[in-house]
């Protein structure tokens, strides 16, 4: 209360009153990711502070600079189990980059400055400050001046070292001799603001680029050499390129299990060389063995790489041209379908929503997703063209993250680029984890275009149950009510929007999608679009659980069979040509083709 009382009349600070502290933390993260600077969330003690634990964990795993600043009972009551006391410093220890409890007001300024420095520098991350009430109201006129420069013994993120040029020289030796090089771009590229250097590197080398989900947007999806997302739910072309690569240049990524698939079979070529540039020493060699480790901030490292490359370029060509050709053919055959027909239930196919959204999406628009199928559809199909315009919960996979991050993102763009729209791609399951914040967007006049893809299930888990648990939809059916399992769906999202004084649009036919999106875009305030999508639609391809990057389940026959034809990727012009022809002939096969065990069963 003393804190809020103090900022009550401060016109420079915009306070967005969220309805729940977890959501305030997520909103701070949305803000931080768009701005590339600290997002702040302020909560009360005890339950208020513990509610931010999920938000801190989310920011920790996605390396977002946020600060959570919570009240605490007076210092003399700490440890006495006082009203609304909780050991939040203990609770947040494992999920923050650093946390503090301020016991002396004289240290307050120094701690704040230190915390902000820690959150923003090196590999960014969340910080937590616990501020007891007596410290909040203490007179700090005698406090020591806040130091100008922050030096923290024991905290020296390695932004550059003299070993980097030598290592980059080694990396270039591998890259210049590579036959099938691939760049793997992660979220670190965005944190380091190294997207321009990356694009220049790609334009010089003409190397195909795959990205992690956190790395979406660091290079435009429109770029001819960008193959899309890699991994568990990656595009087939990205996964194949990774399987075939003999040199992998990994930038700001941590080789998470969702990226590598089966670690024993990663990389696909057992003699492939991996060059890994990351600012976090601990990420290098953590999951995969690395041939050229480079600990550095990406921006200066890529600048050095470019300089050395330009020196070497005077000597001529690098990569065999048919590798691009194959990549290009593969990319052409793997575009987003404009599905105008409906599914078996007469409802919209999710790809249609993505197709129309792509059409209306401007380069500066921000796309935020929830977690689940909606996230994967968006990650697959949406063309994101700029860094910091794609916001999704990666490491922790927090359902309910999206809407609040979108609120934070919307506040951030209103400061920097008011023309940009914020689109939220949500599922009905995720959205029900956070829908109370509709009240926030209404009362704080925040605009988010909400697209709820309602399939009446917790779709991603249902998909797994369909594919691997004989369609036993245990605990995932959101429309199944009563012992007889009568299908009925609550809430009515349109009435819900109405209850919060917002416009709701229900879309049940493919032809209505475009108009609804346009209407939302034109509207001055938040619009809730509910798209009734085919309940049992699946996001494909996906890797088999525990499978390697080349073992995935696909919608159509040709997606799985590329290896069947050659036992490897096509490597000559003729092979490429045959491959493309065969896809064209089989293109009309549009059913769930699950190869392997299930097929034999039938």
């Amino acid at each position: 209360m003393p804190f809020f009382d103090e900022i009550y009349e401060d016109k420079d600070i915009r306070v967005v009153l969220m309805r729940h502290e977890q959501m305030a933390g997520h909103a701070a993260e949305g803000y931080a990711r768009v701005k590339g600077d600290l997002g702040l969330c302020v909560t009360t003690s005890g339950p208020g502070a513990t509610n931010t634990v999920t938000a801190l964990a989310n920011a920790y795993y996605d390396s977002s600079p946020i600060m959570v600043f919570s009240g605490q009972v007076p210092t003399k009551l700490i440890g006495n189990d006082a009203f609304q006391e909780a050991d939040v410093v203990g609770a947040t220890m494992a999920i923050t980059k650093q946390n503090y409890q301020v016991k002396d007001v004289n240290n307050l300024g120094k701690i704040f400055k230190e915390a902000i420095h820690i959150a923003n520098s090196g590999r960014p991350g969340p910080v937590f400050i616990d501020l007891p009430k007596d410290v909040q109201v203490a007179d700090c006129s005698l406090a020591e001046p806040i130091p100008e420069n922050i030096h923290i013994t024991g905290y020296n993120p390695k932004e550059w070292s003299s070993a980097v040029p030598r290592q980059i020289n080694r990396a270039l030796d591998y890259m210049m001799n590579a036959q099938y090089p691939v760049i793997l771009a992660g979220g670190g590229v965005a944190h380091a603001n190294a997207h321009k250097e990356l694009e220049e590197l790609v334009s010089i080398l003409n190397i195909p680029v795959v990205y992690t989900m956190m790395g979406k947007g660091v290079i435009s999806d429109d770029h001819p050499y960008v193959l899309g997302m890699l991994g568990m739910h990656g595009r087939k072309r990205a996964n194949f390129a990774m399987c075939e690569a003999d040199v992998i240049l990994a930038l700001g990524t941590r080789f998470s299990d969702r990226i590598t698939g089966d670690l024993n079979r990663f990389p696909g070529q057992s003699d492939a060389k991996i060059i890994h540039i990351d600012i976090d020493t601990a990420e290098i060699g953590k999951n995969v063995q690395v041939d050229v480790p480079i600990v550095s901030d990406l921006k200066p490292a890529l600048e050095e790489l470019l300089n050395q490359l330009k020196d070497r370029m005077k000597n001529g060509g690098i990569i065999k041209s048919w590798w691009y050709k194959w990549i290009k053919d593969l990319k052409d055959s793997d575009g987003i379908p404009n599905v105008t027909n409906t599914g078996p239930h007469g409802l919209v196919i999710p790809e249609k929503v993505m197709y129309e959204l792509n059409d209306i999406l401007e380069p500066d628009d921000i796309v935020v997703t929830e977690v689940g199928q909606n996230q994967m559809y968006a990650a697959h199909y949406l063309n994101i063209r700029k860094p910091r315009t794609w916001i999704s919960s990666g490491g922790l996979g927090t359902m309910g993250f999206g809407f609040h991050a979108a609120i934070g993102a919307s506040v951030a763009v209103s400061e920097t680029n008011p023309e940009a729209e914020v689109w939220l791609v949500a599922g009905d399951g995720s959205f029900q984890m956070n829908l109370h914040e509709l009240s926030t967007v209404k009362s704080a006049d925040i605009k988010v275009n909400i697209i709820i893809m309602n399939n009446e299930y917790l779709g991603m888990v249902r998909q797994w149950q369909e594919l691997f648990f004989d369609k036993r939809y245990a605990g995932t059916d959101l429309a199944c009510v009563g012992p007889e399992c009568e299908r009925n769906y609550w809430p009515d999202f349109i009435k819900l929007a109405d209850a919060y004084g917002l416009e709701g649009i229900r879309v049940s036919k493919p032809s209505q999608v475009k108009a609804a999106l346009e209407r939302a875009k034109k509207s001055k305030e938040t619009v809730v679009i509910e798209v009734l999508i085919e309940p049992e639609s699946n996001v494909l391809p996906m890797l088999r659980p525990g499978g390697a990057l080349d073992s995935f389940l696909s919608r159509t026959r040709e997606e799985k069979s590329i290896y069947d034809w050659y036992g490897r990727l096509p490597r000559t012009d003729m092979e490429c040509k045959n491959y493309c022809c065969e896809i064209a002939e089989e293109d009309d096969v549009d059913y769930l083709f699950q190869w392997g065990k299930k097929k034999e069963d039938k």
């Binding site: 650093q98 024991g154 905290y155 601990a282 953590k286």
Partner: protein, 173 residues
């Protein structure tokens, strides 16, 4: 180190801030990432405000490397070093209380104590408390030998302390 109690042991020396919660951050990191602590000792260092920790950790070299990297990431950890067993002096102190029956057994215990250059620090009619200091193998061996002669009532071991040989040191300068 060919030691039965620590088959796969590495010694890590740390210099850390002497402030509340630091031990929890360090041990919490081990717990969260599934690393094993075989032994941990803490005490003041040569500099006020900084504590010196010696951790005996178990795991292959990749695991130990990952442990040192993760420790390094903690803001309150100022220095971390994996101390190679060749160039490190390792000591442990153990206090052992044994039960004795009669004068002969006491004589026998005292002779073993002398043999190991240990010390009897408390003697009563039925009990002797012995202080033994040495490398972990010496302490283990002493316990083995003494437990053959007399029953042991209680053992308190300090855990391993390690310091590198020669000039090398884990300090701020």
């Amino acid at each position: 180190m060919s030691n039965s109690n620590y088959p796969n042991l590495s010694i890590i020396g740390l210099l850390v801030n002497d402030s509340p919660g630091v031990m929890m951050k360090i041990t919490g990191m081990f717990a969260r990432r599934g690393f094993n602590i075989a032994s941990i000792t803490v005490g003041h260092s040569e500099r006020p405000g900084l504590s010196r920790i010696t951790i005996g950790a178990e795991g292959d070299l990749d695991t130990i490397e990952q442990i040192t990297k993760q420790l390094n990431k903690l803001v309150d950890v100022i220095k971390v070093q994996h101390l190679g067993l060749q160039n490190t002096t390792i000591r442990e102190c153990a206090l052992i209380k044994v039960i004795i029956k009669g004068h002969e057994q006491r004589q026998e215990v005292v002779s073993i104590v002398d043999l190991y250059r240990a010390k009897a620090i408390d003697v009563s009619q039925k009990y002797i408390t012995i202080e033994v200091v040495g490398g972990p193998r010496k302490v283990d061996s002493f316990i083995d030998v003494i437990s053959d002669i007399v029953p042991i009532r209680e053992i308190v071991r300090s855990g391993l302390m390690a310091i590198s040989r020669g000039k090398s040191a884990i300090t701020l300068n």
